[in-house]
Each structure stands twice: as structure tokens, then as C-alpha cells.
């Protein structure tokens, strides 16, 4: 059962990621991204990471994707900028792509992957909260200061323009 679900979500993720990368229209890419996020959330659920799955949907779909669509709508239909992705600088792009592929391949083959024998479904929220407030308190606080800085910066730029 879980295997079938995994392959369904994996297929959805890869197919929609393909749509996202190969589509010429930015808005189609955004729709592809929507299904990619959904598929990844499904895989998180199958890994018994319920909180992470829901947080993934909340932050990426509710925040980042909506912002992206907003940006595209404002620039294309209102000010008339044609937002289509094009292929530019083929040779440098190919070199960089091959380099990244090589690095990724090395990393994937060298890493000792943790293969979980059996996933037990139990609540993770309380554990995550405890860890964030004890062992990972400083990274957590640094991230919140960073986000606050980004927020103030965005408000500043918006006021100026």
C-alpha cells in the first residue's frame, strides 16, 4: 500500500517538476511547481513526518507560490511585460549544468543513505518543538532575525519605490 502511494507521489513530483522546467510560460511553471510541492508533501507523509509535510504545503504553496503568481500577474497582464523563459548562452549553461550534475552524482554515490526499515507513524510536533527550543535554539533565533531583516528590507524598498 505504502509502496504504491510512494510511487504515485514520486511520479507526480517528477512529472510536474518536468513540466516546471520545460515549460516556456512562467505561469505553467508555477502550476507545475504547485503539484511538485504537493507530491513532496505526500512523500513527507509517507516518511511519517506529518508536521514537516503540512509546513511544506503551508510555506511553499501558501507563501512562495502565491507570491510568485502575484509577481507574474502584476508584471505580465498589467504592465505588459512578456514573461517567457528563453534559452540564452547555451554553451556556458551546458558547462555549468554538467559540472553540477557531476557534483550531484559524486555526492549521491558517496553518501551512505539511511534506509529506514519500518516507518512508525507517531506524532512529531512535540518532539520538533522541544528540539527547536533546546538543542537548536540559536539556529532558530538566527533564522527569525534573518526573516525579520528581510521583512524590514522589503517594506523599505516598497516605500522607496
Amino acid at each position: 500500500m505504502q509502496d504504491i502511494m510512494f510511487y504515485m507521489f514520486a511520479a507526480l513530483t517528477i512529472a510536474s517538476a518536468g513540466v516546471m522546467v520545460f515549460s516556456r510560460s512562467v505561469i505553467y511553471s508555477a502550476v507545475g511547481l504547485l503539484f511538485t510541492f504537493f507530491g513532496v508533501a505526500g512523500i513527507y507523509v509517507l516518511l511519517a513526518a506529518d508536521f514537516v509535510a503540512v509546513a511544506q504545503v503551508m510555506i511553499y504553496v501558501g507563501g512562495i507560490l502565491v507570491l510568485l503568481l502575484f509577481g507574474v500577474m502584476l508584471s505580465q497582464r498589467v504592465t505588459g511585460v512578456n514573461m517567457r523563459t528563453e534559452t540564452l548562452q547555451t554553451v556556458p549553461a551546458a558547462i555549468v549544468a554538467v559540472g553540477v550534475l557531476f557534483i550531484l552524482f559524486r555526492v549521491i554515490s558517496k553518501t551512505e543513505w539511511l534506509v529506514k526499515a519500518k516507518t512508525t507513524f507517531e506524532p512529531t510536533t512535540a518532539k520538533l518543538g522541544t528540539l527547536l527550543m533546546t538543542d537548536y535554539l540559536i539556529p532558530f533565533e538566527i533564522v527569525s532575525v534573518l526573516l525579520l531583516g528581510a521583512l524590514i528590507g522589503a517594506a523599505f524598498i516598497a516605500r522607496k519605490g
Binding site: 500500500m1 504504491i4 505561469i27 505553467y28 502550476v31 504547485l34 506529518d50 508536521f51 503540512v54 509546513a55 504545503v57 503551508m58 504553496v61 501558501g62 507563501g63 507560490l65 502565491v66 503568481l69 502575484f70 507574474v72 500577474m73 502584476l74 497582464r77 498589467v78 506524532p123 512529531t124 510536533t125
Partner: protein, 363 residues
């Protein structure tokens, strides 16, 4: 020996069967559950649409639908145009589906499905009774907040794909509104989560069992009451309902993001909107008004009554939504943003801080 190994093969084959049939039954149960939820959502939407028309009519001193009826003996005597929404629903299903020539056809088709599917997905965690939670998630409340973000994406796509100025304006207003009001709504939900110490919707209700005085709306007075009001106002805005119905303001932008939709696709938006109203009713009653638990303690608290209480409380909330819609004028865009960012959000934080300090200092 060959006989034995053949037997082994048969036994091995048979031992796979139970897991396979188990998978099949699981899938069947899931499909059945999904069908029941879809039917329930559609039925509730029909009832809510009828209620809206009747409530608005009586508030404006008219009768509303009175004519549509059947010849079936018992149902005939109900009268009051009870079959009107049923007839409207059939009409919508049979209407021609018009897609504008300049529209983005694929996205135009996809958008209503995203909105509808997200609404139904939210129904999966609603607690209708102690043993009547379709999917009892540990992160139930968080799931509800997260899944509603799919609705925003659907609305934006609908507005963009229609290739129409009104649609686009409506979609942008809607998205800006939902995103802004999500913050006070989420913070006031956080107040409840802090008080209960769980994200599980069932546990939130169990925390409030034992009568009306144990409902979360009265706890940490007045901080939870404040959170209730904030969540209520924010939910009105997230539903795009008056006085925050700017995304569909018919006097300015025709019908907003669904201007270019007709027939079945329009019906899906319409159904999702009213199903969302019921959804918000259940969420408010679960978080603040005791959910399935009876207001009289253990009196009238058996399983059938639990479903009854959920429906009574939710429809009471829906009635107040309708009441406000037909009595208040529409706010302006700047007033809307002012309400969200300068009134509701700070007060939501006050409420959260108040409950937090109360829990540390007094308890």
C-alpha cells in the same frame, strides 16, 4: 519433495493474498469516504444556498423563492420553494460551458478543480463526533490552515486564465485579502492551540467537554473571547463574504475571478464557496464553541446528538455570516487592509501574549 515445494508455492501465493485484499479494502474505504464527504459537501452547499436566499429575503422584507415544488405527496406540503436550489443546481449542470476565445484553456479548466479539491480535502479532518472524524490527524488544525492555501492558488489561476480585466482584478483582490487575513486568523488559532496544548481537533474538543462554561471562548477571559472575534472577522474575509466581498464586488468588477465561468465550472466555484462557509462554521465551533460536545455537560451528549450539536453550532455561525452580509455595506480596499494589518493582527498578538502570560503567571 516436488509435491511439498508445490504446496509451498501455493502457500506463499496465498500469504500474499491477505495483504493484497487488505490494500484493496483500504482503498475501497478511502474511496467510499471521499464519496460520502463529496456528497455531504454538495448537500450542505445546496442547503446553505437556500438558507442564504431565504434569510436575505426575510431581512429585506420579501419572501424569496416560494414557487418551486414537486408533486410527490409528502414533500408537496413543505412548500416555501424548497426545491429551488435543486432546480438551480440541475440548470447549472446542464448549461453550456462557455470558454472565452482568448482564455488560457488548460488553466481555465484546471482552476475550479483545484478550488473544489482543496475544499473537499479540508472536510477530511472535520470532527463530527467522538468517533466520527474521517481522518484524525495529529496536526489537524495546521492541516486546515495549510490546505486552504490551495484555494488561493486556484482563485489566482482562474482570474489569470480568464484573460479579463475584471477577473484579474478580482483574483488579485481575493489573493491579497486571503493572504493578509490569514495572519490574524492563524495567530488566533495559535491562542487555542496554546490553551489546549494540541493540534489535534479531537483533543481540542475533548478539552472543552462538560458544558457551556468549559468552552474555550470563555477561557483566559477576555483573551480567548478576543481571539474568537478576530478569527470570526478574519474568516468572513477569507470567505470573500460581505462586508469583505471586494473580490466579487458586482457593482465594480462584475463577478471578480469567476466572471468568465459558466455552467458546471461556475457550479464548482459556487459549491466550493458555500461548502467553505460550512467548513468555517465547523472550525469556529470546534475551536471556540465546544465542537461536538453538548452545552449541557453529559446531558444529550450521545453519538447522534454530537453530530446534531456540530450542525447546530455551525449553522448558527453561518446564520450570523448571512446576517452580516445582508446588513453591512462593503468596505473599501484600504479599509480592508487597515482592518487586517493595523487592527486584527496587533490585537491577535495581544491575545496570544495575554494567554501566554496567564499560563506562566497564574496557572
Amino acid at each position: 519433495m516436488p509435491v511439498l515445494s508445490a504446496n509451498h508455492a501455493v502457500i506463499n501465493a496465498l500469504s500474499i493474498l491477505p495483504t493484497f485484499s487488505e490494500t484493496l479494502t483500504n482503498v475501497l474505504f478511502m474511496v467510499l469516504g471521499a464519496v460520502i464527504i463529496t456528497g455531504l459537501a454538495a448537500l450542505l452547499a445546496l442547503v446553505s444556498v437556500y438558507l442564504e436566499r431565504k434569510v436575505s429575503a426575510h431581512m429585506q422584507d420579501r419572501l424569496g423563492p416560494m414557487e418551486v415544488n414537486t408533486e410527490i405527496p409528502i414533500l408537496k406540503n413543505i412548500g416555501h420553494g424548497w426545491a429551488q436550489t435543486l432546480a438551480d443546481a440541475f440548470k447549472l449542470l446542464l448549461k453550456e460551458d462557455i470558454v472565452p476565445a482568448a482564455a488560457d484553456k488548460k488553466l481555465h479548466l484546471l482552476a475550479p478543480f483545484i478550488v473544489f479539491a482543496a475544499t473537499l480535502a479540508a472536510f477530511a479532518v472535520l470532527p463530527f463526533g467522538r468517533n466520527l472524524i474521517p481522518s484524525d490527524l495529529n496536526v489537524g488544525v495546521f492541516y486546515l490552515i495549510a490546505i486552504s492555501s490551495f484555494v488561493v492558488v486556484g482563485i489566482i489561476l482562474a482570474g489569470w486564465a480568464s484573460n479579463n480585466k475584471w477577473s484579474l482584478l478580482g483574483a488579485m483582490r481575493s489573493a491579497a485579502q486571503i493572504v493578509s487575513f490569514e495572519i490574524p486568523a492563524s495567530v488566533s488559532v495559535l491562542v487555542v492551540i496554546m490553551a489546549v496544548g494540541s493540534l489535534n481537533l479531537g483533543e481540542i474538543v475533548e478539552f472543552q467537554e462538560g458544558g457551556i462554561h468549559r468552552w474555550l471562548i470563555w477561557r483566559f477571559f477576555p483573551f480567548n473571547l478576543l481571539a474568537f472575534f478576530i478569527f470570526f472577522v478574519a474568516s468572513l474575509a477569507e470567505l470573500n463574504r460581505a462586508p469583505f466581498d471586494l473580490p466579487e464586488a458586482e457593482s465594480e468588477i462584475i463577478a471578480g475571478f469567476h466572471t468568465e465561468y459558466s455552467g458546471m465550472k461556475f457550479a464548482m466555484f459556487f459549491l466550493a464557496e458555500y461548502a467553505n462557509m460550512f467548513l468555517v462554521g465547523v472550525i469556529i465551533s470546534t475551536l471556540f464553541l465546544g465542537g461536538w460536545s453538548s452545552p449541557f455537560g453529559s446531558f444529550l451528549n450521545s453519538a447522534p446528538f454530537q453530530v446534531f450539536w456540530v450542525f447546530v453550532k455551525s449553522f448558527a455561525i453561518i446564520f450570523v455570516h448571512m446576517w452580516l452580509r445582508w446588513t453591512l455595506p462593503r468596505v473599501r480596499v484600504d479599509q480592508l487592509m487597515y482592518t487586517s494589518w493595523k487592527v486584527l493582527t496587533p490585537f491577535a498578538f495581544v491575545s496570544m501574549l495575554g494567554v501566554g502570560l496567564w499560563m506562566i503567571l497564574i496557572q
